[in-house]
Symmetry: C2
Subunit: 153 residues, 2 copies
Amino acid sequence: MPDQSSPSLLFEVFALNQQVGQLLREALADGPLSPDRYAVYSAVFEDETITLTALAARLGMPLTTAAEHVRRLERLGHARRLPNPQDGRSFLLTLTAEGRRAHRAANTRFEQAHRAFVEALPIPVAAATEVLTALRLAAREATRAAPTQRLPK
Amino acid sequence: MPDQSSPSLLFEVFALNQQVGQLLREALADGPLSPDRYAVYSAVFEDETITLTALAARLGMPLTTAAEHVRRLERLGHARRLPNPQDGRSFLLTLTAEGRRAHRAANTRFEQAHRAFVEALPIPVAAATEVLTALRLAAREATRAAPTQRLPK
């Protein structure tokens, strides 16, 4: 059997996400966006305009999954494409007024949950955020390093 | 607009989980268990026997969600109930030989991904795990503190 302490790091990522999911599902229950969708809107909103590649990296998602989210936002009229002045072959995504409205409606509820969360946290927010970012970048490196899988298309 | 640094804590939880999900989906792709199911089997396996309440707390899930997982494991013949000597009204869950076999088959793949992850991590595993646990407990406290939602049954 492997070292007990070892797999518990990834296990804790799972359990933390479950618990935060529970917190946010309850907080956002009456709003227009689910927690997962709120995260996508937030990532676009924060940067005002963002490329698909940067969005996928920011969300920790494969490009294909991020592209599905983008198509959904476009279908809803919540986001639209702008030409990318840096690169004629790609585009920049931005929230429409409608998309910003949905984000704002969810944001009030989100902020309440966030405040309760931070109040209960015995460590500084900045230190915790740094650890989460270091973990995400390590997971990304490990994902890239993994031998290519024969996943069905 | 709220303080930029503030919502990014919960955002980082989301992005970290996405990235770890990507890592583990690829690692476990050819195995018998998806990453989410692997986490459930692991929680039962680690404690050998566990109550439904302890399992739900460990996984960061509502009791009802944990109970669905338990029913699924029982249906597959991967877990069974034992009487709880501490409390005649509850039961202890344990993996069957078949359940342990599925866990073990996924575990080899999981351990590979875990090693790559830890190698890429610039901070000590124990410190990172502690931060994740503190975050989970804070999220649990915030979930409990939230006003009861009128969620549909």
